[in-house]
Symmetry: C2
């Protein structure tokens, strides 16, 4: 099998997916990646920035920037922690209020996107993706 096409397809799908998700999220004035953070905070409660980037497996500057934008547009607030180096990120009231609505939008979109696969195919896909790139001793 031509591995090239597999990787190309992977790329394409993710790009396509982000693009559409961003379009769907327009109605909430939100972006894909911002949603990821919003969702994480809604599940885990207030977190420091470091906790966020480690959890999302993204570099620190990436979340600094995204959070700055989210703070500006009123989704989160960054309050100082006991340790004066760190900033704790908290959802704003507005975010709390709009969350269910947004979640429904996402849920619906994701469901429609995944509808082309049966339940067991979805699990297969998850399983295979998870296994992909799992280095033994690469």
């Amino acid at each position: 099998m031509e591995t090239h096409f597999l990787f190309h397809l992977l790329h394409q799908k993710v790009r396509h997916l982000s693009k559409e998700l961003n379009k769907v999220l327009e109605q909430h004035q939100l972006y894909n990646s911002q949603w990821t953070i919003l969702y994480t905070l809604s599940q885990k409660g207030p977190m420091s920035q470091t906790q966020i980037w480690q959890y999302l497996d993204v570099e620190a500057p990436t979340v600094t920037r995204t959070l700055a934008r989210m703070e500006k547009s009123g989704w989160v607030q960054r309050v100082p922690g006991k340790d004066k180096r760190e900033r704790i990120v908290v959802l704003t009231d507005r975010a709390q209020q709009e969350l269910p609505d947004i979640q429904q939008t996402i849920q619906q979109y994701e469901a429609s996107y995944v509808a082309s696969l049966s339940e067991s195919e979805q699990q297969q896909l998850y399983h295979l993706l998870n296994k992909l790139g799992d280095k033994k001793e690469r």
Copy 2:
């Protein structure tokens, strides 16, 4: 199954993959996305920019920019076509020369990444990815 995790995993994998690929390509002074274009041109021969973005399913400004960078670093040249609006993209001699080497680097990396899956799992994965998001009448 929680679709959320499937999409999250997809994102993560692709990000992780690009990151590593870029690192591997450093030795050739090349980036992931630039390689994609280089490879396409090596397979298809000279193409107009429009042909490139349509084939790669990317927006026009994206390839304009990437080609500009590639031209500056000596991978491609853009020559005017008969139609004075279009620019035909051609690989430079240097690109031609270095291609086999780079291809080997990529090949090797991709093979190692995909080695965690059996041949038939790879095909399964390709099949499922391909099917994912296939709208009937979404």
